[in-house]
Amino acid sequence: MYSYIILEKNRGTRMTYYEIKKVFAKTSSKLSLAVLCIVLIVVCNFATGEAQYVNENGDGESGRAAIAKLREQKQQWEGPLTSEKLEKVIRQHRKINASPEAKSDDVQELDKAYAKTQGYGDIRDLLSCAFGDFIEFDYYAADSLKPKDAEKFYDSRISSLKDWLDGTGSARFTEEEKAFLVSQYKELKTPLDYKYADGWEQVFYSSPMLLIFTIFIIGFLLSGIFSCESQLKTDSVFYSSYHGRRKAVLSKLKAALLIASVIYWVMVLLYTGFVLWFFGAGGSDCMVQSNLDGWKIFYNITIGQEYLLIVLGGYVGCLFFSALLMLISAKTKSPVLAAAVPFILFLIPTVLDSVDSDFLKKVLGIMPHQLMQISRTIRNLDLYSAGEKVMGSIPILFVLYLALFLVIGLVLYQSYRRAEVK
């Protein structure tokens, strides 16, 4: 019995191997992998190319060594963001703002002043967020703060949300949704712990670009898996074979899953690895709100958890898009139409985004493209109510598209199993 299972597994593996070989034997597939490598290089360069450190002479430095200096400066300000720490930052900032360099009209002198603010720059930005407008970020809001304002730092986050909900944001939410947002803000454990986390910030920032291109290429590679038999007229032999309507179909699914998974995770890990190598990997245990970009996020999670949401969300999206385009490929027998599916599903929201409709925005908030840009989606204040239950779009996206992936996989298997050669 055991040896029979081994033999069957061996045969299944061989079928999967040949399915993968069918995909990569094509020159176009090899070229698309080369394109993916170029995309990875471009995105990594994009993520690291802009990073700069300004030295004490006001000159910009770039490269990994410069980033190490910046990191060293920021690490001096690490620790809990208590009133005392915030007060110290406000004092330091006022002192630097009052210095001759900061008041000078000379750009070089201004840069020298800026150089002194880099270490606490992230905390200064948080102060600007807390005491500035809720929607529009006012970079200079921190300039007008007094040391005694520090104690209002966390309350200000909640009060500015409430002010916004009572004002311009009022029409967007139901009372339950407003209460949910406020309670999420109140549930944030304070004081926040601050650590240098520029590496993660950069990983998040460029991740949508990488994930979207990766999906396009995976889509291109998988578009032919379920239509090649019909395209090449090999379907008669395929379906009339012993495993043709069962294991061979499963092998196709396995091969597709393997190709999508390997390419996706290799891209994600290489990208993450490179960016974190360049910037440093610290700060993953801090709350996302300890960073300028995450200040308004209502999900109370750590930076590391956000990373997991981004890559797992991307993976769920990758699986969903793969399954959908394979289903279209199997039904229409057209790899071209199938390969266009990710493009279409990314293009539609871009076009509809300009339409001013709350309902449409809610629908767009749970469209599958959001999975590829969790780093942006998580920052949106999109809420969905079912009865008294209020939740953000992230859990809906995960559950909905994982379920759809499984359903499509099943439909795909069944439809291919029952296909006729006419």
């Binding site: 033999l7 061996n10 045969r11 061989r14 079928m15 040949y18 070989k21 069918k22 034997a25 094509k26 090649c228 038999e229 090449l232 007229k233 090999t234 379907d235 008669s236 032999v237 395929f238 379906y239 009339s240 074979s241 012993y242 495993h243 043709g244 309507r245 069962r246 294991k247 061979a248 006729e420 050669v421 006419k422």
Partner: protein, 296 residues
């Protein structure tokens, strides 16, 4: 092994491609002859479980082949009319892949593939990509894939179509060789192929099997006789209107030798000739049946 077609019918949107066929096949070579659109391919596809009948059933040793599912396909080898291939696979890879979907164990598959490559004369070109093989070579890979699982039922749909004469002869010999102890159903409109290898011939027309029997029985079933005579070239159109012409051979000084199918002697100088399967084919299906280049 007994393959039984019971009231087998297939309709496509009002068009009946296969019309209530009843027939039983056992081991041996069966040649399915018919004009284009007679329903040969539809019948074969149903036999290979590629399409489901709209009526009737196919049983293998008493069991419905669609219910048997994989167990039936395990017995099956099929060379389709439009044999497709994976262009970037080598012949060997292609056969190894088909072996895997036919459920052969890897070690068995490897040996079987090498044996068949030798048998079909492709041992030296097995490493070449399929897209670089000639039409005849691809067809030989096709027959090899059909034989991989040593099938008890071998279905060959137009196996010699598009092959040059040498390839055709080679192919016919190969099929004869492979036909021992199995049921081979061979569809073609190349009459000479069937005459050469089939034990039983099935004449199919408009979805029905009109006549069955050995080549001799089929020939003797034709009510008309075959006559050969010489005539003026100018008379050919008139003769075509009046008789079925099996062949027109141009001779010297505006004369032609015509082969006429007629119950009565068409001319006093006409000489009766022995009827062939090609004459029968012409009689039942008419001049425009089949691939004109291959027919005679």
């Amino acid at each position: 092994m007994e393959l039984k077609l019971e009231n087998l019918t297939k309709e496509f949107q009002g068009f009946t491609a296969v019309d209530h066929i009843n027939y039983t096949m056992r081991n041996g070579v069966y040649g399915l002859l018919g004009e284009n659109g007679a329903g040969k391919t539809t019948l074969m596809r149903m036999l290979c479980t590629l399409i489901k009948p709209t009526g009737g059933k196919i049983t293998c040793d008493g069991e419905d082949v669609f219910s048997m599912d994989g167990q039936y396909r395990k017995l099956l080898g099929y060379l389709p009319q439009d044999f497709g291939y994976y262009p970037d696979f080598t012949a060997r890879d292609y056969l190894l892949y088909v072996s895997s979907i036919k459920g052969l164990r890897p070690a068995t598959a490897k040996k079987r593939v090498e044996d068949l490559l030798t048998k079909v004369g492709l041992a030296k070109t097995a490493g070449k990509k399929m897209k670089k093989l000639s039409g005849g070579m691809k067809r030989r890979v096709g027959i090899a894939q059909a034989m991989l699982n040593n099938p008890k039922i071998l279905v060959l749909d137009e196996p010699t179509a598009g092959l040059d004469p040498n390839e055709r002869i080679r192919f016919r010999n190969l099929i004869s060789e492979l036909s021992e102890e199995r049921l081979v159903l061979l569809s073609t409109h190349i009459v000479s192929d069937v005459a050469y290898i089939a034990n039983q011939i099935l004449l199919m027309k408009r979805g029905r099997i009109e006549h069955t029997g050995t080549a001799e029985q089929i020939i003797s079933s034709m009510p008309e006789k075959v006559w050969i005579c010489k005539a003026d070239k100018k008379l050919v159109p008139a003769l075509q209107k009046r008789y079925k012409l099996a062949n027109v051979k141009t001779g010297a000084s505006n004369t032609v030798e015509v082969r006429i199918l007629s119950a009565k002697r068409p001319f006093s100088e006409a000489v009766q000739a022995e009827a062939s399967l090609e004459d029968v084919f012409l009689y039942y299906f008419g001049e425009k049946s089949g691939d004109e280049n291959d027919l005679l």
